[in-house]
């Protein structure tokens, strides 16, 4: 009976209290949030909002309803008699509590004590960028990004906290969804190709820069240059969402330079000839040759070669993605097509990508997932900067030279053209590179008990590249009947990673987590090439048509890493946090005597604002003090750099073997010790937030091509010598100036200062071209004669002698004989500081964002200056400023007298060195989103139109094409830096696009 009463009572209660609650969930702008999870706390009941944000759920009075949606603060509502609810979700804007990816796991910004810079999709998704690295620009302190040149495939220099190495790679380690990416340049013509060119920027969810050693040390022997962790988008527990992005853009060069026209050319060179004792008849005969018999006296020919080298082009981009999922499985899939037109004649690319990512809860206690990315990129390439047929080198041709003959074919007459006419290559040549990239990974996450998980991952990366180059009848290979090259390179990497994750709470305040694991990674590379010559026709370009196969070869190489790692984190009461980690790395690249190394790190943080004495501060809403220390390595040296090697050669078609390398069996990774001290703070309820970091990085055992006496038969050996230091300060200040439902404005300013010093260089100065490595100076400092202007009496170029006087001062007398002068260190190619200002504004349905970026303190040396601005020593066309040459005694100018075929001021001096300071309007985007209540009538969640401008404005005093464009052929050199040589400027693009979500 009692039982019956009990049941009855219960039923009665249920019957009496259960309500059907309906309502809508919107964000703070009133836009419905489909897929919001609603659950009844302490029950299994749950529901999701539909397409219009509408939901229905059964609940009892007094129950708690929990509303949750990714990126928004969860909200709890107690059920009362009200059965219609209007829920407005608040975005989770608190900057100090974002998820950060830390390598083998995640954490939140609040809990870490290290310096990690994060770019999230929402920061960048409204902005249009051509490549993944260009996303980084001006977004994270301590990261310098420079595209080598305006070629569409051009490589980037990404430097995290300065340059920490000379002899090894200076690029950070890229980790894509757990797979350390192959990042070797496979270009066949010394103009680096961006190794990440196949990544679709639209797929990126977040990018985390592990900047300090404590963060990067978990990647041990490869952490010194920083680690960039790229995480791609994944599906969430929501209804299917399809996004469509499409855009069209126009590309132009950011800059053209002013060169002499035909009349000015004739004037200057007639004068130069006269000054050098060349008769008027002789110089006119030369003009006749150049003009190919055309009547230059009457202006029949005036070629603007620069105009021929540049082109205006179109970029189109189409991207479709679908994502969604249930509580059991989530998916994300996307495909894209991109066609980027180059700003240089003959340059452009097509990119196709395909990505799929799935996460599945296989059982209650295990989760698994895989993701795969396929891409193909086809690039129409051009020669590197140091080639006569590089289009931009054609500015050296005389304006008297006709570019084309009457029949439209390129003028390749050897007397008329000073250098091979690039249009001949354009007309009878072809240079195409195809790149196929596959990156995939699969993981299982097994739940062992409440505290322990076991994660196993397998990753794979493959970069396959094929390059075909043909030079036909109007090229420099005409004399051998045309020349063809086919080459392929295939690099594959697999990585197996296993780790255990443990976490527990002791008492109520003490959190402990630990990770323990290991990985094995192996990379193989195989390449082949074949060359042939004598082709019957320019139309038959494959090597089957070559009469003679002149050369061929294949090459295989391999290296691997075996690593163990452990990390533990302690957190007490959200006030005190500490992380300790250690990694042991072994690599086949290192000498047999030092194959393994340890890479420890420690960091600690104190969240002062969580102490009771600050908890009520109105002014200081958050404050965290951080300190970290760690050791990282750099292992990007040759695969067999520690060995004495002998390579194949041949003579008279006989096999020969020659020594190719001396090795040091003691060779090991570079060791970088880094300290970091940081403050994170929020003011006025986090309306203003900021981070300030000071760091000091010391690299010991610098991997170096140490020069050895040439009398040994060798020039250098890779050894661990020397020491380098990078010190710097990074400041990020963000403010949410205005925040209400109609108008939201965020402004972020970044400031980075880095000072690089070579603190120890036992081998003495190392001079490489115009760059020098000298103890006490910055890496790659410029080492030049100092130009002292022009002797106003006779027009001679003058140089400061700069010999060292007995008292240690420099002899500031001048000389017109450069061999009497001495070179000195003048400036370096690295900026003293970088700044950027990012603004993003949302006003009703409009959004407006811009990025201003600036660098100060770097210098750039124009190696081509002696040719393009060398007061007419050679017949190369000159920049118009050379018309300011000295002409009569008493003239005051810095351009020496024009003298044909005589050196007068063209030595590698400060005459061709300039400040590369600039401020650039990197990006401007203006978007308009159609009112969702209107677009939803067409079943569209979001429709946004935008206009985006890239590199619209650059303010600089630099006279060359661009203060960031440097010689691409030095792109992989650790020492030669900051030198430009007919280097192409970046593109300026205007893009119009549409984003649609449904």
């Amino acid at each position: 009976m009692a039982y019956a009463i009990f049941v009855l009572l219960c039923c009665n209660t249920v019957l009496a209290q259960e309500l059907t609650i309906t309502g809508t969930v919107t964000d703070n702008r009133g836009i419905p949030l489909p897929g919001t999870n609603i659950s009844v706390v302490n029950s299994t009941k749950g529901a999701q909002t539909d397409f219009d944000g509408f939901f229905t759920i059964e609940a009892n009075k007094g129950d708690q309803l929990l509303f949750s949606y990714v990126g928004f603060l969860p909200q709890t509502v107690t059920v009362t008699n009200e059965t219609k609810l209007e829920i407005t979700m608040q975005e989770n804007v608190e900057g100090l509590d974002q998820i950060v990816i830390i390598g083998y796991g995640t954490s939140t910004k609040k809990k870490i004590a290290t310096s990690i810079g994060t770019i999230r999709a929402e920061d960048i998704e409204d902005i249009k960028f051509p490549s993944i690295q260009s996303l980084f620009t001006g977004q994270v302190t301590g990261v310098q990004v420079a595209q080598l040149s305006g070629r569409v495939e051009s490589g980037f220099k990404v430097r995290v906290r300065g340059v920490s190495t000379v002899g090894a790679s200076q690029e950070p380690l890229y980790v894509l969804d757990g797979v350390p990416l192959i990042n070797e340049d496979e270009s066949i013509n010394n103009s680096p190709i961006n190794p990440l060119i196949g990544l679709n920027p639209n797929d990126v969810e977040s990018i985390d820069f592990l900047k300090d050693a404590a963060a990067a040390a978990i990647y041990g022997a490869r952490g010194t240059n920083g680690v960039v962790i790229i995480t791609t988008k994944k599906g969430t527990e929501s209804k299917p969402k399809i996004t469509l992005n499409t855009s069209t853009g126009l590309n132009f060069t950011t800059k053209k330079r002013d060169f002499l026209n035909a009349a000015q050319y004739i004037e200057l060179y007639s004068e130069a000839a006269q000054n050098s004792g060349v008769s008027q008849a002789e110089i006119e005969a030369r003009f006749d040759e150049l003009a190919l018999g055309r009547d230059w006296r009457n202006g029949e020919v005036d070629t603007d070669w620069q105009e021929l080298a540049f082109q205006e082009s179109v970029t189109t981009d189409l991207n479709v993605a679908a994502s969604g999922g249930t509580d059991k499985a989530q998916y994300y899939m996307s495909t894209s097509y991109n066609k980027t037109g180059g700003i240089i004649l003959g340059n452009g690319l097509d990119r196709y990508t395909l990505r799929g990512k799935t996460d599945v809860n296989i059982t209650e206690k295990s989760k698994a997932g895989f993701n795969i990315n396929l891409s193909k990129v086809t690039i129409d390439r051009i020669s590197n900067d140091n080639s006569f047929i590089s289009p931009l080198q054609s500015v050296a041709q005389s304006p008297l030279t006709p570019a084309l003959l009457e029949d439209g074919t390129a003028n390749v007459d050897g007397n008329s053209t000073l250098y091979q006419n690039f249009l001949g290559q354009e007309q009878t040549g072809r240079f195409v590179t195809d790149i196929w990239r596959t990156t995939a990974n699969i993981y299982g996450d097994f739940y062992i008990n409440d505290h322990l998980n076991y994660v196993s991952e397998a990753g794979y990366d493959s970069n396959r590249q094929s390059a075909e180059r043909f030079s036909g009848s109007l090229t420099e290979f005409a004399s051998v009947g045309g020349f063809g090259t086919v080459s392929t390179a295939n690099t594959e990497r697999y990585i197996l990673t296993n780790y255990l994750k443990y976490n527990t709470t002791i008492g109520s305040q003490f959190d402990i987590s630990a990770t323990l694991g290991g990985s094995f990674e192996e990379t193989t590379r195989a390449s082949q090439f074949t060359t042939g010559q004598q082709f019957p026709s320019d139309d038959l370009q494959t090597l089957d048509n070559a009469v003679i196969i002149t050369n061929g070869g294949s090459n295989k190489t391999k290296y691997n890493f075996l690593s163990y790692f452990a990390r533990s984190r302690f957190d007490y009461a959200n006030k005190y946090a500490m992380t300790l980690s250690i990694r042991r790395d072994g690599s086949s690249r290192f000498g047999s005597n030092s194959q393994f190394g340890w890479f420890p790190a420690a960091s600690a943080a104190w969240t002062v604002s969580n102490e009771s004495f600050l908890s009520n501060s109105q002014f200081l809403s958050s404050l965290k003090l951080r300190a970290s220390w760690g050791i990282t390595g750099n292992a990007e040296i040759g695969n067999f750099a520690s060995q004495n090697l002998y390579g194949l050669t041949s003579y008279d078609r006989r096999i020969g073997v020659s020594p190719i390398q001396l090795g040091d069996p003691e060779l090991k990774w570079e060791k970088t010790t880094q300290y970091d001290f940081g403050v994170d703070f929020g003011l006025f309820n986090n309306v203003v937030t900021g981070e300030i970091d000071y760091y000091n990085k010391t690299t010991n055992d610098l991997l170096f091509n140490q020069p050895v006496p040439g009398t040994s038969g060798f020039t250098s050996i890779v050894r661990n010598v020397g020491e380098m230091e990078n010190k710097g300060i990074e400041v990020r200040l963000s403010t949410n100036i205005i925040s209400n439902s109609d108008f939201n404005w965020n402004l972020t300013g970044l400031f980075t200062r880095n000072v690089n010093t070579l603190t120890n260089l036992p081998s003495g100065d190392i001079i490489d071209g115009v760059n020098i490595l000298r103890e006490g100076e910055s890496l790659s400092s410029f080492y030049l004669y100092e130009y002292a202007g022009v002797d106003s009496d006779n027009g001679d170029a003058l140089y400061y002698i700069n010999s060292v006087n007995a008292d240690g001062s420099l002899n500031r007398d001048t000389t017109n004989d450069v061999s009497q002068a001495n070179r000195i260190v003048v400036g370096n190619p690295f900026p003293e500081f970088q700044v950027s200002l990012n603004s993003s504004m949302k006003f009703n349905n409009f959004d407006f964002a811009f990025i201003l970026q600036g660098e100060y303190g770097a210098s750039i040396f124009d190696q081509a200056g002696k040719f393009t601005s060398g007061n007419a020593q050679f017949f190369d066309n000159q920049t118009v400023d050379q018309l300011n040459r000295w002409q009569n005694p008493g003239d005051i100018t810095d351009v020496p007298q024009a003298r044909l075929n005589e050196e007068n001021g063209q030595a590698d001096s400060t005459r061709y060195l300039q400040n590369a300071d600039f401020i650039r309007l990197r990006n401007v985007t203006l978007g308009y989103t159609i009112d969702p209540t209107f677009s939803s009538k067409f079943y569209l969640d979001k429709v946004r139109f935008y206009f985006s401008g890239l590199n619209l404005l650059t303010l600089t005093d630099y006279d060359g094409y661009d203060p960031q464009s440097t010689a691409d052929f030095n792109g992989n050199s650790g020492v030669r830096s900051g030198v430009s040589f007919y280097s192409a400027p970046p593109a300026k693009s205007y893009t119009f696009g549409v984003n649609v979500e449904f």
């Binding site: 007397n415 094995f520 090697l645």
Partner: protein, 453 residues
């Protein structure tokens, strides 16, 4: 049960990783290491071929030695039209210590020497004596030829031994195969260097077969020693060695100049030539001396021949005065026919030179070993299609050398041994001597610099 699961997990975990450790030892697939590079006769023979390949590179015998020498020796006979500043410095006799062509030549030379030294240090792997002798002789030949050009270009002239005790170049005899082998040598005296060259060539002449296909032979060693002897004023030795090679019967003058140059196989008068094929070797002479129609750089040509050169000819009909071309109707600079193919051997010692060495030596000594000086000179003139001389002055022999051996890297050395100024520069001007490369002195403080730098 629960423990069992742990054990499985951890075991799996450990085995996945620990089994990998031995995989860290990887050997390269394109290169040999010290352990396996010297252990058989074949491998040492391969290193010898490697030394030839090294010597054949553009930086040295593949062209730049000749280009450096000709431009340094130029007094208006040539014009440099190219844009490379290194070569412009040679032409201006104003070479900087950082000239990269000089540095590359120096480095290449010692690389040849090191490879020869490695071969000479490992001769005990040969069981076949004749094979061993041939390999040793060739290594000595290559080492000698390299030192000879080094000492001629990096040291003072030594006609009659006047500068015997001045700085020559460092003599390195120990092979460098590991880092520990590296030495920091000083410069040996010019006399020591010449003695070293002489011994190597005398040994080579004894060890080598009289003919050795396109590789160094006893005849080549003798011919080179004849040239060395002439350079140092040892006329008996020069005469006798030249005579031995001429009378060996292995060589004869080609009847047409066109058969002398641009050959893929040695001509019948090549005593030694650097081999260039489509797949190996390089011929930078073609790049710099030919117009672009024939594979040269578009300086058209980078090195053109100017009117003063033609002053040495006594008749317009001399085939050697007509061995030139200009390209197309507007007229390029004058270019020599000697280097119109990029896939052609580079003659180093020709029979014609030996006739002229014998003639000069006999003339100085007043002897007629082999033939009279007049006859020897007339043999050369006859091939050039011009009249024979009836009497001979010393200057006629020198003029004949200038005509016959033009642009082959001889003029500078002839002027310096005969003490003839090059334009305004005295024969012993420091500006006609290359500087020790700065990079070399940066690394090795024991190296002294030449006067004038």
């Amino acid at each position: 049960m629960k423990n069992f699961k742990y054990i499985i997990t951890l075991t799996l975990f450990a085995t996945l990783l620990l089994s990998c450790e031995e995989r860290l030892d990887i050997d390269p697939q394109q290169a040999l290491t010290n352990e396996d590079a010297f252990d058989t006769a074949d491998k040492i023979s391969n290193i010898l071929i490697g030394a030839y390949a090294q010597a054949g590179q553009a930086a040295s015998y593949g062209g730049q030695i000749t280009i450096i020498t000709e431009l340094l020796g130029n007094n208006g006979e040539l014009q440099w039209n190219g844009t490379f500043t290194d070569q412009a410095e040679f032409d201006a006799k104003n070479v900087s210590t950082t000239n990269e062509t000089v540095a590359a030549y120096w480095l290449n030379s010692y690389s040849i020497i090191n490879q020869a030294n490695i071969v000479l240090d490992n001769l005990d792997v040969f069981e076949n004596e004749s094979q061993r002798n041939s390999v040793e002789g060739q290594a000595r030949f290559l080492r000698a030829v390299t030192y000879f050009d080094l000492v001629r270009l990096f040291a003072k002239p030594n006609n009659g031994g006047i500068n015997n005790l001045e700085d020559g170049v460092p003599i390195v005899v120990n092979p460098v195969t590991t880092y520990a082998d590296i030495e920091f040598p000083e410069r040996d005296t010019i006399e020591d260097v010449y003695n070293f060259i002489t011994i190597d060539l005398q040994e080579a002449a004894l060890l080598l077969p009289i003919s050795n296909r396109d590789l160094a032979s006893a005849n080549a060693a003798k011919a080179l020693l004849a040239r060395v002897s002439l350079q140092t004023g040892n006329y008996e030795s020069a005469r006798d060695l030249a005579n031995e090679v001429i009378s060996s019967g292995y060589f004869r003058l080609e009847s047409s100049l066109f058969d002398v140059y641009n050959n893929q196989d040695n001509s019948s008068e090549d005593v030694f030539a650097w081999q260039v094929t489509e797949s190996d070797g390089s011929n930078a002479l073609n790049t710099f001396w030919a117009t672009d129609r024939f594979g040269g750089r578009p300086g058209n040509p980078d090195i053109s021949i100017e009117n003063p050169f033609f002053g040495i000819f006594d008749t317009f009909f001399d085939a050697r005065a007509n061995f030139f071309y200009v390209d197309n109707e507007t007229g390029s600079g004058i270019a020599t026919y000697k280097y119109i193919s990029g896939v052609a051997n580079i003659p180093y010692i020709r029979l014609a030179e030996l006739y002229l060495i014998r003639a000069e030596s006999n003339f100085i000594l007043g002897t007629s070993v082999g033939n009279t000086p007049l006859n020897d000179v007339n043999i050369i003139r006859t091939r050039a299609g011009i009249f024979s001389l009836t009497s001979l002055r010393y200057v006629d022999i020198i003029l004949e050398r200038l005509k016959e051996l033009s642009f082959e890297g001889n003029k500078l050395h002839d002027y310096r041994r005969l003490q003839i100024p090059i334009g305004e520069l005295e024969y012993d001007s420091p500006r006609l001597v290359l500087p020790i490369p700065q990079r070399e002195r940066n690394v090795n403080p024991n190296l002294s610099q030449n006067d004038g730098y």
